[in-house]
């Protein structure tokens, strides 16, 4: 017997992959698995997933099965459909899938109160990367938990409302309207913001 071949054969016996459900089973058993349920919003029903770390995803899909498939594709875990959301939903977030920069952008967006908007440039300046306006836009588009982290309250400095993670600018306008802001009002706020300190860029009152 060739010595080298013998050891290669032994080594090759270790080259196996664990079955796919190992990760899900383990996370489920220790309470770190994801559950999801439907939530009514200004945009109609969306699905919200959460685990012990916090809320992990918000997506608008036609069916629960479609949500499951998209969640799996994005996070590599299998979420389990349940009837009800936990009572304190939206207080903690599972942002493990995003970079440090993206996390800073998202946490800053979270500070924008209902009924107000800020610009991409405002976020960039606030987190200490004033030149990274485009990257802020990209980070917000990747927001895993839209609505709950209100990336819809971040708009373009020319008064256009810009992209939205949960279904384009029409959806973004719809959700801003549900918070009491019309298209004209948004543009007005942004124009006012150019001469006012960013902190005063807010709706009346």
């Amino acid at each position: 017997m060739q010595g080298r071949e013998f050891f290669d054969d032994l080594r090759a016996l270790g080259a196996v992959r664990a079955p796919r459900n190992v990760l899900e089973e383990v996370l489920d058993q220790v309470g770190l698995g994801d559950h999801f349920a439907a939530l009514d919003t200004a945009l109609g029903p969306v699905f919200v997933a959460w685990n012990r770390v916090g809320v992990s995803a918000v997506m608008k899909t036609g069916t629960a099965a479609e949500f499951g498939a998209r969640f799996r594709a994005r996070f590599g875990r299998e979420p389990r459909l349940v009837a009800d959301l936990p009572a304190e939903i939206g207080t903690r977030f599972d942002l493990r899938s995003v970079t440090e920069f993206e996390r800073a952008v998202l946490l800053k967006a979270r500070e924008i109160p209902r009924g107000e908007v800020r610009t991409y440039g405002w976020i960039a300046a606030q987190i200490g990367h004033p030149a990274a306006v485009r990257a802020v836009g990209t980070a917000l588009r990747k927001n895993p938990v839209p609505v709950l982290i209100p990336c819809h309250r971040v708009v373009r400095s020319d008064g256009h409302i810009g992209d939205y993670a949960l279904g384009g600018s029409e959806a973004k306008l719809m959700i801003l309207q549900s918070e009491g802001l019309g298209r004209g009002q948004i543009a007005q706020l942004v124009r006012a913001g150019r001469s006012a300190p960013p902190s005063q860029l807010a709706a009346n009152g």
Binding site: L13, G14, V16, P19, V22, V26, V30, L32
Partner: protein, 193 residues
């Protein structure tokens, strides 16, 4: 710093956040380990899951300082070994089922000719089933060192032995393994010439 070292540092501060990366990093290795000890994909899958669940429960109890200094790899193999031992204790040896296919597909190189791959696959099946015939002590030592690629120091840590004992168990295991394989090798040689 290796992935494993930086992972134990991150685990110290954020167990819930870093546990999933830990499972992803080790699940293939621990499944491969338990598969070679049990010979059964079903047992290996359940043992791997048990291992991680036990690891999580232990990490929950450990203070951050202990988590930070943990050598994850030998620690996890040790838990897996205990899980497998507890499962087989008191159970009659079952029929050995060898899963050649997964390992063969993964290790076959695209430029290898099919007949060469088939021959290698057959040889590996024989090695895998011969491993299962060794006394547990020696089989485990060989799997840890030569299938899983642990250092002798790590093997000794997993088996809770002095390094010298681990080395001699590995060598004894290899001798036993070659002995167990010899009849098959003779047959194979007779068939190919």
């Amino acid at each position: 710093m290796t992935d494993e070292e930086s992972l134990s540092i991150r685990l110290a501060d954020d167990l819930d956040g870093q546990f999933e990366p830990l499972v992803r990093l080790f699940q293939d290795r621990l499944y491969g380990f338990t598969l070679r000890l049990t010979g059964s994909p079903q047992d290996a899958e359940e043992s791997t899951q048990d291992t991680f669940v036990r690891a999580y429960r232990a990490l929950e109890r450990y203070p951050a300082e202990r988590r930070r200094e943990l050598r994850l790899r030998p620690w996890l193999y040790q838990i897996a070994l205990n899980v497998v031992r507890n499962r087989v204790r008191g159970r009659m040896p079952t029929t050995v089922s060898i899963d050649g296919t997964v390992a063969d597909v993964l290790t076959a190189r695209a430029d290898e000719r099919p007949e060469v791959v088939a021959l290698a696959a057959e040889r590996r099946r024989q090695v895998a089933s011969a491993l299962l015939t060794l006394p547990e002590r020696y089989g485990t030592a060989v799997v840890l060192r030569h299938v899983q690629g642990l250092s002798y120091a790590e093997v000794a840590e997993v088996l809770d032995q002095p390094v010298g004992t681990a080395k001699s168990d590995v060598h004894r295991g290899l001798r036993l393994l070659r002995g167990a394989l010899e009849p098959e090798l003779l047959l194979e040689a007779a068939g190919s010439y």
